[in-house]
Each structure stands twice: as C-alpha cells, then as structure tokens.
C-alpha cells in the first residue's frame, strides 16, 4: 500500500511533463448565438428618445428653422435658403472671433494639459497629504463661473486688485487689462488655467493611481530614471484619461462665455470677444435670429469636427 501511495504521488509529478502541450495560439471563437428576435427592446429606449427629442432635437430643429428664414415678426417671415450661412461664414468679425477662439483653445490645451499632468505626478500617492492635496487642487472647480469671473475681475485690477497692483507696483510692469488687449488676453487665459487645470490634474491623478505598484517596482529593477518611468510607464497609461481631458477642455474653452464676459465683456475693443460672446450679442442683443441660427449650427459643427479629429488621432496613437 505504501508503494501504491508513493507511485500515486509520483505519477502526479510525472503527469505534468506528460501533459505539457505546445502553446496554443488563440483560435477565433466561431460560436453563433441563436436567440429569438423581436423589436420589443425599443420600448426600453423610448423614454430616452422622447426626453432627448423634447430637450435637444426639437430645440435644435428650431434653430435650423431660424437659420433658413429671415424673420421680421412672428407673422412676417421669408425663406432665404442658405443665405445666412453664406453671410455668416464671410463675416469678417465672426471670422476674426473664430481665429481668436481657436487660438485661445490651443493655448489653453498647451498650458493646462502639461501643467495638469505635472501637478498630478507631483501629488502624493499615499499618506495623509493625499486628501489635503485633493481638496486644495479641487477648490477652483467648486467656484461658480461668474464668481470666478468676478474674483479675477477684481484680482487683476491695477488699482485695487492684489494681482494687478503687485504686477504694477512690485514687479514694476505696466499692466492694465481694461486698456491693453494683450493684458486682457493674458488675464482671461490665466484665469482659465487657474480654473480648469485642476480638472486635468484630477483626471490624470486618477489615471496615475490606477497603475499597479509592480510597474514602478519593475522600473526600479530596470534602473529607469524618473523621466524614463514617466515617459514609458505613466504617460502611456494616461492616454485614456488625457483623451477625455483634451476633449473636455477643448469643447469647454472653445465655448467659453461667462468668465471673459464678466472680466472684460469682450474688450478692450474686440480683444477677448470670443465666438460665444459674439453669438449672444447677435442672438440676444440684436435679436437677429436667422444669422444667429446659422452661426450656432456652424459653431456646433466646428466643435463636433475638431472633437472627432482629436478623438480619432488620440485613440489611433495608442494602437
């Protein structure tokens, strides 16, 4: 019986080498599911379809309706075809605002994305300082937009604002955002960086936290420098969250309205007059619903196209 039991243990050992097989290459799964088909699932989608139609599709169609008519009064309107689209796309003021807004968005992305990532890398990974850092970083995100505008409107003033006064009297640089276009531009840009870099930082921080420890341990074993660790471990694994951050920040900065409206009102001159500020002037100020409708649709289209391009490029880069 001893002999028998020992050979049992032995055969378990030997069995492993016997059952060793060649590595299996993944063969495609060719199963086809056979399930009864009907269209009842549509009923589940119906509430969403109705509410989206009511809140988004129908209002958008109203705008489309406006954009192809010249409306003098509710009873007096004529169909003008694509006339408004033609005139809006040729309007020099709108074109200038378009270039301005695009430039603003580009600068926002170039500043906020690297800064946010740097902030996220610098934030502690564990310990009591994690929550302190998180709260501090998240603070600007909790402030309403028009309050952010008001804060900066006062902060950057040369006479009574802490920031503006310091720049003028301590650093000795002539700075006045109400008179100088460059100063106004810089003020709005820095305000946006202050307000929204935290969003990028939080997204990136969440991405960094999801990297398992062994990756960093392997990098240590491989003798990787801090830069090599960032470049080859952290950055590749941030691709997903950075795609989201870039899309969000592009869309949001391209449509920026409240803060510059509060700080500069679009001025001085047209220096900070972005597309949205111009659009609201045409739609609400002048009540030109036709051109405003055409303008809105083109605006919408540009945001869609640029976002699509960003998304495609960023996802392809990862393959």
């Amino acid at each position: 019986m001893t002999e028998q039991s020992v050979t049992v243990a032995g055969s378990a050992v030997g069995g492993e080498t016997v059952t060793a097989t060649a590595p299996q290459d993944g063969t495609p799964d060719t199963r086809v599911s056979v399930k009864p088909k009907n269209n009842r699932a549509w009923f589940l989608v119906l509430p969403v379809v109705v509410s989206v139609a009511f809140t988004a599709v129908i209002p958008l169609m109203t705008v489309v309706n406006f954009s192809v008519q010249d409306i003098f009064s509710p009873d007096d309107r004529i169909f003008v075809g694509l006339e408004w689209f033609r005139s809006v796309s040729r309007d020099p003021e709108i074109r200038a605002a378009f270039v301005r807004t695009l430039l603003f968005s580009a600068q926002v992305l170039l500043l906020e994305i690297p800064l946010g990532v740097a902030l996220a890398v610098a934030m502690p990974r564990r310990g009591i300082w994690v929550s302190v850092a998180l709260v501090l970083v998240a603070l600007p995100l909790l402030i309403p937009w028009n309050v952010v505008g008001t804060i900066w409107q006062i902060f950057a003033r040369a006479d009574i604002g802490l920031g503006g006064w310091t720049i003028n009297n301590v650093l000795g640089i002539d700075f006045n955002y109400t008179l100088d276009s460059t100063d106004a531009w810089i003020t709005v840009l820095i305000m946006d960086v202050w307000h929204w870099t935290p969003l990028v930082a939080l997204l990136a921080y969440a991405g960094l936290r999801s990297i398992p420890d062994p990756y960093f341990q392997a990098a240590q074993i491989d003798g990787a420098s801090a830069w090599a660790t960032f470049r080859h471990i952290q950055l590749p694994r941030l691709r997903g969250v950075l795609t989201i951050a870039i899309l969000l920040r592009f869309m949001d900065s391209f449509m920026i309205y409240t803060e510059p409206f509060v700080v500069t009102g679009g001025g001085p001159g047209n220096a900070t007059s972005f597309l949205s500020i111009l659009l609201s002037k045409i739609a609400v100020g002048q009540f030109d619903l036709g051109p405003a409708g055409a303008f809105s649709l083109l605006y919408f289209l540009v945001v869609q196209i640029v976002s699509y391009v960003f998304f495609t490029v960023l996802t392809r880069a990862g393959r």
Binding site: M1, T2, E3, Q4, S5, V6, V8, A9, S11, A12, V13, E16, T17, T19, A20, T21, A22, P23, Q24, D25, G26, P212, P214, Y215, Q217, A218, Q220, I221, D222, G223, A224, S225, A228, H232, I233, P236, R237, G318
Partner: protein, 376 residues
Amino acid sequence: MADIRLEGVGHSYDGGRTWALKPMTWTWRSSRAYALLGPSGCGKTTLLNIISGLLSPTVGRIWFDDREVTAVPTAGRNIAQVFQFPVLYEEMSVYDNLAFPLRNRKYPKAEIDQRVRRVSQLLGLDDHLRRRSRRLDPGRQQIVSLGRGLVRSEVAAVLLDEPLTVVDPALKWTLRSKLKEIHRDTGHTLIYVTHDQTEALTFADEVVVLNEGAIVQAGEPTELFLSPAHEFVGHFIGSPGMNVVPAEIADGVVRVAETDVGRAVGELEPGPVHIGVRPEFARLGGEGTSPGLPVQVMEVDRMGAYNLVHVKAGDHPVIAKTEADARFAPGTVEFLHLAPDRTFLFRDSVRCGSIAPLDAGEPLDSIAPLDGKGAP
C-alpha cells in the same frame, strides 16, 4: 552570481507591533532553484521584495557573498524580478522591452544588440522581437518580463513572484519547463514564490516552507513529504494533508483515548502530544498483530487509482489512503495502524519525536514494509 545571506532580517509594516516577516537568518545558495511555498499572506512577497531591495527590512542585514547590500537600492543589486502579472512597457516592441534595462545603464549599442539577441534566442522570442509587446499572449508577455531580468550580465538571482497565476493551464507546463531549462542553461539562482505545492515540488531543488512570517522547514521535496518537521508542513504539502490526532504520553507510551498505539521515541516529557501521520502511512485492517486503534468508517471517496477512507478515531477525523480495490463499508469498525518511521509526534506544532512499535521484537505483518527509497 552569489550566495544571498539574510542576517536577522525581519520586517514589520506597523512599526514593530506585528512581524510580517519574523527576524530570520537564512542563506540562498548560489545557482540553486528554490521554491518559496506558503499560504497567502505568510510573508512570501515581503521576503522577495526585501531581497530585491524594493523594501528595506525593519531589522537585519543582507549580504550578496561578502558585499553588504542592505542600503543598496534596487537598481544597484542586479536582481531580476518577475511579478504575478506581466509588467511590460506596453508601447514598446519586444526588442525595446528587452533592451530597456541596458539602455538605462548606458550599455554600448552593439553590446545591447548582442545581449538582446542572445536572450531572445534563449527564450524563443526571435520571431516576436519587432511586435508590440502588449499584443503578445499573456504567457509570452510573462516570458518577455523574465527576459528583461535575464538580459543583464551578472544577475545575482531571478525572483519569480507567482509568475504563472495569469497564464492559462495549458501554457503553465510549457512555461515551467522553459524556466527549468533556463535554470539549467544559465545557472542563475532562482527563487520561485508560489502557494501551489505541485508547482513548488516539481520546480525546485529545495523547497522553503514559510508560514506566519517564519521559515518552518526547508528541504528537498521528498524530505518535506516523508519527514515533515512542523505540523503546518504536513498539512500544506500532500493532498490530502497529514492527519493530526491528539494523544497522551504516559510512561513512554503514546495512547489515543484508551488505546496504546506505540512507544514514544525521543526525549519526551509525559503529557499531551499530537500524532501526525500522512494518509499514505495510515493503514486500515483487522486487529492484526500490532495494536490497532479502533476507528469507525464514515465515508469512502473513490479516486480511481486509490480510495480515501474517512474514519473517526473517537471524535477525531482521520483519512487513510487505501488500494482502489480495498473494501471498507461505512459504519463498520476497523483498526488503524500507524506506520513506524512515518508517524511523528508534535508539540506546539513542532516535531518532537516519532512512534515505534510497542514491542520492538514483534513482527508487523499487517504493515507492509516501506518500499526502500522512503526509508531514512
């Protein structure tokens, strides 16, 4: 390559209140294949991370031969470590992954190429060098992780932390034989962490059993099986594990309940003791000539090649492994015979002696002699 010596090394994660790894002195000898076996949370990974320098021990010193490395950071230790799941630089090709540790250490280009090609040949990665590493199957990814360790010259040891967890069973055998092959070809010291006894026993020259932060026994696989030095080793190695029956020593005689089962061998005080016997060495039969322990048959598991008979000695369950054609009916009373030399006594879980037949001169007809190779 070097002997890795731990001198009083211990680690505590909570400032000394509890030891994740109790202070121990131990030497990993050069060029051997070790398996570090133990249940989850017993300190295996802690021990590994201390060797590779990812963790500084709370107490103790670490030596590679006669060089003290306690304060040397990971990068300076020349240790290769493979983790539970493949860790790759995913956007790099396999070639770049293998070259990465060398590039970080500023090796000349020609030498990098030569080393990478040698390792890729050794690991059978030649056809995959240009592929993005993340597109490989998990098994190959794990091989690439291993390759990144082997590519450096003078690797002191290769540490493997349950490296086959994510690999599917069919590939496991292939990978394990590959590891053995590499060990044979390169002669690196290997320390293979696992909680799977089959993996440990088939892989290693020497198995080190770790439990609750302490090494309880180390030895060749056969030794751990035939001669467990600790109750835990008896439980953990072997399936099913060793039976443990509470007993009493009085006047040099071991008795269970009211039955004398044998003479105690060893310097033993009278008092309570545990008898440990593997199912392989617990035999059922008639009263026979050796004093048998009356037991009640509860249940029989038919395993095909053998049967496992569950019996109760008093209140204590015991499992005996019997021939496939042995007939034991549940409910009947049989007699349990303990093989001398293979039945041990434990106190405080540590082995303290063994059992000898009551009368040394008596022939033990009912107990088949051991098949020679098992005898100590």
